[in-house]
């Protein structure tokens, strides 16, 4: 839930409306958990779970084969998966044949977190990556929201992880562009 919450706070800092809430499955440690976040310029009235996401952030890649994660995702939707492997190595390219390939990306967020924060907690990095990926939110806002949520050194380190992931994704996008124009 924290990632969705930070995203919502970041959007708020940019003057936008945001709504973040946990899915309504049991939130116990170890069980698959989904959180939702809506961002809009107008007030958000609806309360339903996000049925047709514009973007999907997957923190735990092992879930992909357990739960129907991609239900409702539109063909030009963004998918950002936390793993050091490449998207094409994950074993479900078939599903994504008709998707905008530019919008499918992996990011080694756990590794980035370990490097900058010292703990395998990928949330901050994934949000930094998300910012670069979709352009829906600025890195600045994400970092500010991270610092609001985690004070002191912990906040700084997470903000650094976000930045590192931001740069990683920016690079990945450029590479893709470079590859596709060749």
């Amino acid at each position: 839930m924290t990632a969705a919450e930070i995203l919502a706070v970041a959007a708020f800092a940019e003057g936008r409306h945001a709504q973040a809430f946990p899915s309504f499955g049991s939130e116990r440690t170890g069980a698959p958990v989904v959180s939702y976040c809506r961002i809009d310029d107008a007030p958000i009235r609806t309360r339903e779970p996000v049925m047709a996401p514009d973007a999907l952030i997957v923190q735990d890649v092992t879930l992909v084969h357990q739960v129907d994660l991609f239900a409702g995702l539109s063909h030009d939707g963004y998918v950002l998966i936390n793993t050091s492997r490449r998207f094409t190595e994950l074993g479900f390219e078939d599903h994504f044949v008709d998707f905008d390939q530019e919008r499918l990306l992996t990011c080694p967020a756990t590794e980035i977190a370990l490097e900058h924060v010292g703990r395998p907690m990928p949330n901050a990095a994934l949000l930094g990556g998300f910012a670069a990926f979709t352009g829906q939110i600025t890195l600045d806002a994400i970092q500010q929201a991270i610092r609001d949520r985690f004070s002191g050194v912990v906040g700084e380190r997470n903000a650094a992880a976000a930045k590192a992931a931001f740069e990683f994704v920016t690079n990945a996008k450029e590479e893709f562009l470079h590859a596709s124009t060749n």
């Binding site: 839930m1 969705a4 919450e5 919502a8 706070v9 708020f12 800092a13 409306h17 945001a18 709504q19 973040a20 809430f21 946990p22 309504f24 049991s26 007030p43 958000i44 009235r45 609806t46 309360r47 339903e48 779970p49 049925m51």
Partner: protein, 421 residues
């Protein structure tokens, strides 16, 4: 100040601004974050003077509130579902004694089967207890209603519960404007009890009342709730004047002026309904929404007035009376006596099942075509139900229905010794 915070946090901070003097509560999902936050404020000294008491049960929670309120203190507690049932004797007692306790009810389904998610069965279980029941549509309204609740309760000597959808509102992080102390103090003067335990002026509170006077005592409580029908709009109006935003009141209307079909509901689902209604309006259907904020006292006149434009009324509710049908729809039907409407009841969202905009749009379309049955259970899996009925008809020892249904869905593992497999 505008903040992006969790609903529970918004409630805790707003309740703290109301200067409660005794806060006593027992933890139960999904109310825990409210009480934890208030407890932290009291322990840190930022909410003072205030006694925060960790009670041993919900029954104790309401009982402590009763004692505190009778002794002249502003008392607050919070609960949900099973907790509300556990304190139900004390809930009736508080209303019967006329004590202005305010309680947050984080609406949650009542078991069995045990279920921690949202519906309105808990609020409905105590609708006759004599408490005022206000339903919030958003976290902003939930926070605002607490200020209005204390004011209303203390003016009338009637306890008030603010109902907000568990998880959907309590655990949602959204934009809320938290008032400042000066504004709350303006809206909520200090508590002046109508009756109080005071050695300087002793009274006996809680004596037995026999057949010769019981009906009159009950009727007086009824009149106080009717007074509330007058006071609620006045308090809401003052709130709007001071804060600049509408919160509370008896009912609210959305696109009803020329509506042929109006959907009536309580609580947060109104937001999703409004989105669905906008989609249908774009297709030319004349649909509107009426939200009921004050469920008890039931604002019959206001409801009748608000529903007048439409020929078809669809009451969508998160509760039902087992073996009969809707609860809210029955109240609405009562208020519409003598009016010419087609009335339809939809039960939805039980046990936290998501009410989706798509399902609502299909529902509206069906209603507009005049094909909605008198009673619908939204998104009910009829096949699963039929399979269980077949199982039950096939063998006496068919086992717990709940487990059978879960096994059907693959949520529970299949055992190797099923006698009927």
């Amino acid at each position: 100040m505008l903040r992006q915070i969790e609903g529970s946090r918004a409630i805790a901070e707003t309740v703290a601004l109301c200067r409660p003097e005794v806060v006593c509560a027992y933890p139960i999902s999904p109310q825990t974050h409210i009480i934890e936050a208030i407890g932290a404020m009291v322990k840190a000294g930022t909410l003072a003077p205030c006694e925060f008491i960790n009670v041993e049960s919900e029954f104790a929670a309401m009982s402590v509130a009763i004692g505190a309120s009778a002794a002249g203190a502003r008392a607050y507690t919070a609960t949900a579902s099973q907790g509300l049932l556990y304190m139900i004797e004390a809930v009736y007692n508080a209303a019967g004694l006329g004590l202005p306790i305010v309680m947050t009810l984080a609406n949650r389904a009542i078991g069995a089967p045990i279920n921690i998610w949202n519906d309105h069965s808990d609020a409905m279980a105590v609708r006759d207890a004599g408490w005022i029941q206000l339903f919030a549509e958003t976290n902003q309204e939930a926070a605002d209603l607490h200020v209005q609740a204390f004011r209303l309760a203390e003016e009338l000597s009637v306890p008030v519960m603010v109902c907000m959808d568990g998880f959907i509102l309590t655990h949602a992080v959204e934009r809320v404007d938290i008032l400042d102390q000066a504004t709350v103090d303006l809206l909520l003067p200090p508590y002046e009890p109508r009756q109080v335990l005071d050695p300087a002026d002793p009274v006996s509170i809680g004596a037995m009342v026999g057949p010769e006077a019981f009906e009159e005592v009950r009727y007086l409580a009824h009149l106080r709730q009717l007074d509330a029908l007058e006071r609620i709009p006045v308090i809401a109006k003052q709130f709007a004047e001071v804060t600049g935003r509408a919160s509370g009141g008896l009912v609210s209307s959305y696109r009803t002026e020329d509506a042929q079909t109006i959907i009536v509901a309580l609580g947060s689902v109104l937001g999703t309904i409004k989105d669905a209604v906008d989609m249908r309006r774009d297709l030319g259907e004349r649909v509107g929404v009426v939200g009921i904020t004050s469920f008890r006292p039931f604002p019959g006149d206001a409801v009748r007035e608000a529903l007048r434009p439409a020929t078809q009324i669809v009451v969508l509710e998160k509760a039902f009376s087992v073996g009969f049908g809707g609860v809210l729809s029955t109240d609405v039907a009562m208020s519409l006596q003598g009016e010419q409407h087609v009335l339809r009841n939809v039960v939805a969202g039980l046990g936290g099942r998501a009410i989706t905009r798509r399902s609502l749009e299909e529902l509206i379309a069906t209603a507009v075509r005049g094909e909605l049955p008198v009673l619908t259970f939204l998104d009910l899996d009829h096949e699963a139900v039929d399979r269980e009925r077949t199982r039950m008809a096939g063998t006496r020892r068919s086992g717990p229905s709940a487990e059978n249904l879960l096994r059907d869905r693959g949520t529970v593992g299949v055992s190797t010794s099923r006698s009927d497999s």
